[in-house]
């Protein structure tokens, strides 16, 4: 619950403390800006309209995936299954369209519903089955990926026009960017403006206190994982739309990107802290690094080293900031 106090604006701030406070609250944003300036200096190809749109498209999948994970991490859990659930949802959608002959928009809905259901299963196992969410979602990671392979027999399936639309453009604006903005607004609204969203902070901050104060902790947890599954499904459909096909090996390892994005964005793995805006910035940090390393043609062996270091530095600064503030 400390987070809500921290986020409350100071009562009578003068200009300088407000700037200082903003910087302190947005370590990841400062990191992102530094990264962008460095890339702007290093290569003229970085700051072009087209490249920025590309970054917007590329960030959409990981960010939407990470929104769901934000709910889970705020509520004090972890969701390792989002990459597999994304793949399963797009594959189910593809199967309903290509093999079962369902209308495209129904197939799209079936994909979203798949994500929602797997999320509910995760939530039930975690809230009522008393499995640690790490284990429950690790199991789902394997089950969902396995089911994806069973449905697809290891082969890509073409997607419906409605799903492919998610990967296209409306005029000059890529649809994934529009979806990203809408998803961010919805996720932010849920987390900040709804009872269940505010309860997530309470549950994550101190589950026992939340229970004693009368919050339906178990129902909240199921909702949290259901939302995570739903956002994972949306991310999977976005990815499938961009590839015009549901891929059996889609989104392998994306759960780690999603978790990294949430943590870079300032959330605490201990629960109770986290914001959607932070997650957007965290996802942007990851994508901008990869984009920049491609533009600079850095060899693939070094890329992994650089990405790891940037994650460590980004999170390290954040930890340092919090320690100096509280200490």
């Amino acid at each position: 619950m400390t987070s809500t106090l921290e986020q409350a604006p100071p009562t009578t701030p003068d200009r300088r403390t407000r700037v200082a406070r903003f910087l302190a609250d947005n370590g990841a944003l400062v990191g992102l800006v530094v990264l962008c300036v460095a890339l702007f200096i290093a290569t003229p190809d970085f700051l072009t309209g087209r490249n920025l749109l590309n970054i917007g498209i590329q960030v959409s999948t990981v960010a939407v995936l990470a929104f769901g994970v934000t709910f889970v991490i705020v509520a004090g859990g972890i969701d390792l299954s989002v990459g597999s659930v994304a793949a399963l949802s797009s594959m189910v959608s593809g199967w309903f369209f290509a093999s079962a002959g369902l209308p495209g928009w129904l197939a799209l809905l079936a994909g979203l519903l798949t994500g929602l259901l797997t999320g509910v299963v995760n939530g039930l196992a975690s809230a009522y089955g008393r499995l640690p969410s790490f284990i429950a979602t690790l199991a789902m990671l394997s089950v969902a990926r396995g089911l994806t392979l069973v449905i697809s027999d290891g082969r890509p399936i073409p997607t419906s026009p409605q799903v492919s639309f998610l990967g296209s453009d409306v005029g000059p604006v890529p649809v994934p960017v529009i979806v990203l903005v809408l998803a961010a607004l919805v996720a932010s609204f849920v987390l900040n403006r709804t009872v269940v969203g505010r309860s997530m902070y309470a549950v994550g901050g101190n589950p026992e206190a939340a229970r004693l104060s009368g919050l339906p902790v178990q129902r909240i947890l199921v909702t949290v994982f259901a939302l995570s599954g739903l956002f994972a499904a949306l991310a999977g459909l976005l990815l499938a739309g961009r590839l015009d096909s549901a891929q059996p090996q889609a989104a392998v390892g994306y759960e780690l990107d999603a978790i990294a994005a949430v943590v870079i964005g300032g959330a605490s793995l201990a629960g109770g802290v986290g914001r959607i805006s932070g997650t957007v910035i965290g996802a942007l940090v990851l994508v901008v690094i990869r984009n920049g390393l491609n533009l600079l043609n850095v060899t693939s062996f070094w890329q992994q080293v650089v990405i790891g270091l940037v994650i460590a530095i980004a999170v390290g600064f954040d930890v340092l900031r919090r320690r100096t503030r509280t200490g």
């Binding site: 190809d45 590329q58 290891g154 891929q247 090996q249 392998v252 491609n294 533009l295 693939s300």
Partner: protein, 312 residues
């Protein structure tokens, strides 16, 4: 009491799940007279290995062998366990497609000890005996891809290379073959080499990024078809017109792209043939016949001219 009851519940559940999966696996009930061959694949999460399995299955059916397929899900430890299970009296031969050539050595040594013949397919086994090693020639394929791409762009211009998972032998060999092949064309410069991890979605992003830095690119070589198709997606209308894309593997999607003209060439490994030859080698080894130590399956450059032979 609760813990006892929940233990019982878990045990029952586990038994049920195992029984159900056993039912799935053994749908082709083994005939005692048929030789039993275990095919241990690195992964089935890849159309290439699915086609390899299908080729092996078809050959096993034709020759009247019982083929048991296990999937190691790209995990060396899982593969070791599966090979340990296969090391039993009911197994007559093992075909292994190693997750990792070094890691599989110990398991194959154990099979050697039980006198069960082992055939390696696609990747070799180090530190143990195999009756035969069956693979495509990836270096030669890389050279063929360089020639096909060079021909398509008239021996002039900038190209980019999409590399596979860093450090894998397939990526190394194909990359080496391509580099050797493209060196014969002084008019062509490789302006960027980046990894896209053999993955279509990653290749889409990486190609998009590389095109920003290198707008004058006229050719793309991808070390597998999945990445080539990602590049095609990134290029949009420019694929096959302004920019030529060459892939590797000859997967169903890759062949279709060559047919559609979005890819100029793919180097068809013939995974079905790999599987077929592996089953033949295993059966020959069971019968005690002479088996060639190394058998390479021809890789074929598939372009518009001969794509009809490969399309299904």
């Amino acid at each position: 009491m609760t813990s006892l009851r929940s233990t019982a519940t878990i045990a029952t559940m586990t038994a049920l799940v195992l029984a159900a999966t056993a039912g799935c696996n053994r749908e082709s009930s083994a005939d005692a007279s048929q030789p039993t061959v275990v095919l241990s694949l690195s992964t089935l999460n890849n159309p290439f290995f699915v086609e390899l399995r299908d080729g092996a299955q078809a050959e096993a059916d034709a020759k009247g062998a019982d083929l048991q397929v296990v999937d190691a899900q790209n995990d060396s430890a899982t593969q070791a366990n599966q090979l340990q299970t296969a090391d039993s009296a009911s197994t007559d031969a093992v075909i292994v497609n190693p997750v990792d050539s070094d890691a599989v050595g110990a398991s194959v040594t154990a099979l050697n000890g039980s006198s069960i013949p082992v055939v390696a397919v696609d990747r070799t086994v180090t530190g143990a005996d195999v009756a035969s090693f069956i693979a495509s020639d990836n270096v030669a394929g890389g050279k063929q891809a360089a020639d096909a791409l060079a021909a398509a762009i008239g021996g002039q211009g900038q190209v980019i290379v999409l590399q596979g998972v860093a450090g894998t032998s397939a990526s190394r060999d194909r990359g080496q073959g391509f580099a050797e092949g493209i060196a014969a064309y002084p008019g062509i410069t490789v302006v960027a080499q980046q990894t896209a991890a053999f993955d279509r979605a990653t290749a889409l992003d990486v190609t998009t990024n590389l095109l920003q830095a290198n707008p004058g690119v006229v050719g793309v070589f991808a070390e597998n078809d999945e990445m080539a198709l990602g590049a095609v997606q990134a290029l949009g209308d420019r694929a096959g017109t302004d920019v030529q894309v060459a892939g590797f593997d000859g997967t169903t999607d890759g062949i279709a792209a060559v047919q559609a003209g979005t890819m100029v060439a793919t180097i068809a490994q013939q995974p079905g043939d790999l599987g077929k030859l592996a089953v033949d080698a295993a059966l020959a080894a069971i019968a005690g016949d002479e088996v060639e130590a190394t058998q390479s399956v021809e890789v074929v450059t598939v372009t518009k001219d001969n794509v009809a032979d490969f399309a299904q």
